[in-house]
């Protein structure tokens, strides 16, 4: 046994031999210097946090830079990373790679959610979550002058948007038989029959449901869609029902905030996206 051991001993550099441990671990003076560095770093962190740089983001970035510097001191000297064998260095660094993957995937998810994020909240909150946003969206004008009147171009926009936003539940032909419909109770509306409708089979009612969703069902608000798509989908769905496509009366249109006597129905001709400040406020308020 012991012969066997001594034969193999030479294969490992002996990290605990008298000659090596002096390089292996930090000297007492070195440890005190690192300690001093960490204390200075702490003072800088607290000091910098008290300065107003105009944006809290600057404070945040400065604090993180100092924290990373302090952490590096700890890892490099106190944890003897500098003298670690390459294999363990690779281990230690791999944690940073995993961390980067974790953070970046979460960031990608967060920053690309867009409309889904808004819909998610509308879907799960009974009260109206974004009063300001909803009001803003509802008042946005379409690029068409009279979007409450169907036209071929609007129908085409609606058909395409329907395929993206509606077909997964309502089915591509509107029979309420989309892929996702199997798991739903109540089932999504079958547009080809006249049973079960919660309102008149008219343009204004369909548009209203698109904007607000139907409480107690899986039909959530699609108010975050661009105005042309909302109007287009409403016309396209109406065309699927086979009902007459005659223009709704002014009193019906008033229920969805449209005044046909005004240009663009009195909608705001501002087709910019929701300002980010309002979106953040709305999120914070809810």
């Amino acid at each position: 046994m012991s012969d066997n051991h001594s034969k193999h001993d030479s294969e490992f550099s002996d990290p605990q031999s008298e000659t090596e441990h002096h390089h292996d671990l930090i000297s007492i003076k070195g440890a005190l210097l690192v300690f001093l560095g960490l204390m200075i770093g702490t003072a800088l962190t607290v000091g910098a946090a008290r300065v107003d740089f105009g944006s809290s983001l600057v404070n945040f970035i400065i604090a993180m830079i100092i924290a990373v510097a302090k952490a590096s001191l700890v890892v490099y000297f106190f944890m003897s990373f500098r003298n670690e064998v390459r294999f363990n260095k690779a281990y230690a660094l791999s944690s940073l790679i995993f961390l980067a993957i974790f953070l970046s995937f979460c960031a990608v998810d967060w920053f690309t959610r867009g409309d889904y994020k808004d819909n998610y909240w509308s879907m799960h909150m009974n009260e109206k979550p974004f009063p300001e946003m909803m009001a803003l969206q509802a008042s946005q004008a379409s690029k068409f002058d009279t979007p409450w009147v169907s036209n071929p171009e609007l129908l085409d926009v609606g058909k395409k948007a329907y395929a993206v936003s509606c077909a997964s539940c309502h089915g591509s032909a509107g029979h309420g038989d989309g892929v996702a419909a199997t798991a739903m109770n109540p089932k999504p509306r079958n547009f080809s029959t006249k049973e079960g409708w919660k309102g008149p089979i008219k343009f204004f009612h369909i548009y209203d449901v698109i904007m607000k969703g139907l409480p107690g069902t899986q039909m959530s608000s699609f108010g975050a869609l661009p105005p042309d798509e909302r109007f287009g989908i409403a016309h396209y769905v109406l065309s699927m029902t086979g009902e007459s496509t005659q223009v709704d009366s002014p009193s019906d249109l008033a229920k969805i905030g449209i005044d046909p006597s005004k240009p663009k129905g009195g909608l705001v001709d501002d087709r910019k996206e929701i300002p980010i400040e309002i979106a953040i406020d709305a999120i914070a308020v809810d």
């Binding site: 490992f12 605990q16 005190l32 204390m39 404070n59 604090a63 700890v74």
Partner: protein, 221 residues
């Protein structure tokens, strides 16, 4: 140095039978420790991601919650932990030099600093509990709640992050007690100091987590 020799006759601790040699055992232990620390990074990073997401979602609420924490107490604990990292590093150093007395002394100092950290933490927690600044439905500060309805989320994150970190401190202290006893018996010397070095790595990691927690929670929240 002589203590090590006295305690074990040969002066060498015999390595476990599944290792080829003492250095082999040492390097395996160290590799295992690094692996453990890698998963610790991932363990904590989940909490940091939660912090980041909620901070982005409820920016003002986070700021208001952060304002309720005591910077002097957080700063005191930062200084305590950094000092304990120094005493830990010195403890390991003296273990490699075979200085039984100083190894024991610095391990005891580290233990006392860790206990000090927990005492400050206890004062902080007691204050938060007293003012009803607690997670979820336990939160009772109506004035804050009226202004920031989601503010209990901040305290969920605060208690979760500092609590998990505190558990790490307690865990380290328990093993520290074991090693203080062993160091006092003269078990460690230039030929064998593996447990002290491993505890050192762990303890520096605990310090490292706090280096991030302090600014994130107390200063720029």
């Amino acid at each position: 140095m002589s203590n090590v020799h006295d305690a074990h006759g040969s002066g060498e601790r015999h390595h476990a039978h599944h290792f080829l040699s003492a250095p082999h055992e040492f390097s395996a232990a160290k590799q295992g420790m690094w692996l453990f620390l890698v998963q610790e990074v991932l363990f904590f990073s989940g909490l940091f991601v939660a912090y980041g997401l909620f901070k982005m979602m409820y920016h003002d609420m986070f700021h208001a919650g952060s304002k309720m924490l005591s910077v002097p107490m957080g700063l005191t604990n930062t200084i305590i932990l950094i000092t304990s990292s120094l005493t830990m590093a010195l403890g390991v150093k003296f273990a490699t030099l075979g200085d039984k007395k100083k190894t024991t002394l610095f391990l005891v100092l580290t233990f006392l600093l860790a206990a000090g950290f927990l005492v400050v933490k206890t004062f902080e927690y007691t204050g938060k509990i007293h003012h009803g600044l607690l997670p979820g439905s336990l939160f009772t500060d109506q004035a804050l709640l009226a202004e920031h309805p989601k503010i209990p989320i901040f305290f969920s994150i605060y208690f979760m992050m500092t609590g998990v970190h505190g558990a790490h401190v307690i865990g380290g202290m328990i093993y520290m007690l074991v090693l203080i006893r062993r160091a006092n018996r003269g078990e460690f010397g230039p030929k064998y100091y593996t447990p002290v070095e491993m505890l050192g790595l762990y303890w520096h990691f605990v310090d490292l987590v706090w280096i991030f927690l302090f600014p994130l929670l107390y200063l720029v929240g």
